[in-house]
């Protein structure tokens, strides 16, 4: 059952990711990207990380995609012209295939090691995933969390400055 769900979701994720790169209309690319995000949220639930799945749907499929679709609407782009085949495209295909080949080679060459940490399925079931995330974030990673808030503030100020007509 789990295997069938995995392969079904994985094929949907891969096909919609291919459509993201190939659709001529940017709105269709955005909708396919949302499908990919939803499939990844399913994987996060299968990996016993429901909080990350909720964040994935709310932040990525919600906030960031709304921003992208809003900009597509604002710029009012037409359909992309059918791109001619060039040597650059062939080179890009070779490079992407090389990335895939090298990573698949390293995956096939060895096993992922380092099991036996403290966070097992029983721990997640008894404490709850959100509590574990909150404990790790506000105890071990408090300083990076504060730095991330500064980063978001700087990004907001930068976006406002860039969008203004007269600086």
């Amino acid at each position: 059952m789990e295997v069938i769900l995995f392969y079904l979701t994985a094929s949907v994720a891969v096909i919609s990711a291919i459509f993201v790169t190939q659709c001529r209309n940017p709105v269709n690319s955005a909708l396919n990207l949302i499908t990919t995000f939803l499939c990844l949220a399913v994987f996060y639930i299968m990996l016993e990380s429901p909080f990350m799945a909720a964040i994935q749907i709310m932040v990525y499929a919600g906030a960031i995609m709304v921003l992208i679709v809003f900009v597509i609407m604002l710029l009012n782009l037409g359909l992309a012209v059918k791109e001619r085949y060039t040597h650059g495209m062939a080179g890009a295909g070779v490079l992407a295939a090389l990335v895939l080949f090298v990573s698949a080679y390293f995956l096939g060459a060895g096993e992922a090691t380092g099991t036996g940490g403290s966070v097992t399925s029983e721990v997640i079931a008894s404490y709850g995933h959100t509590e574990l995330i909150g404990r790790a974030m506000f105890v071990d990673f408090l300083l990076p969390f504060e730095i991330a808030s500064i980063l978001l503030l700087v990004a907001i100020v930068g976006a406002v400055i860039l969008s203004k007509r007269e600086v």
């Binding site: 789990e2 295997v3 995995f6 994720a13 990711a17 993201v20 790169t21 659709c23 940017p26 690319s29 955005a30 990919t36 995000f37 990844l40 994987f43 996060y44 299968m46 990996l47 990380s49 990350m52 964040i55 994935q56 932040v59 990525y60 921003l67 992208i68 597509i72 710029l75 782009l77 992309a80 650059g88 495209m89 890009a92 295909g93 992407a96 990335v99 895939l100 990573s103 698949a104 995956l107 992922a112 380092g114 099991t115 403290s118 966070v119 574990l132 995330i133 790790a136 974030m137 990673f141 990076p144 991330a148 980063l151 978001l152 990004a155 930068g158 976006a159 406002v160 860039l162 969008s163």
Partner: protein, 100 residues
């Protein structure tokens, strides 16, 4: 039985698709969306390995990747609007204002 290798191979495939899109497309917004696909494939790797190792740190990293992606979306899309105002296009072939 689904092992961690299945997830790692899937995220490698998604990353390769994202790379191909970034290198072939000319529309800057589509390139941006392909970068989001690549970021998400890395997030999947982080969570799969975090569950495999039994450690929470990878999932905290995913949280920070999402923060950086949100900041990147805000600034990058503002840059595209500013560029479109000047050139009436967001084709990457027209991005040549820093050349002299």
């Amino acid at each position: 039985m689904i092992t961690v290798n299945h997830y790692l191979l899937l995220s490698a495939i998604l990353f390769a698709i994202g790379t191909f899109g970034v290198l072939t497309r000319k529309n800057a917004i589509v390139i941006f969306m392909c970068i989001e696909v690549m970021l998400n494939s890395v997030n999947l790797t982080f969570i799969a390995l975090s569950r495999h190792v039994g450690n929470m740190d990878g999932q905290i990293f995913v949280f920070f990747v999402m923060t950086v992606a949100a900041a990147e979306a805000a600034v990058g899309l503002a840059l595209m609007i500013a560029f479109f105002r000047n050139k009436e296009s967001i084709d990457t072939d027209d991005f040549n204002m820093l050349k002299w």
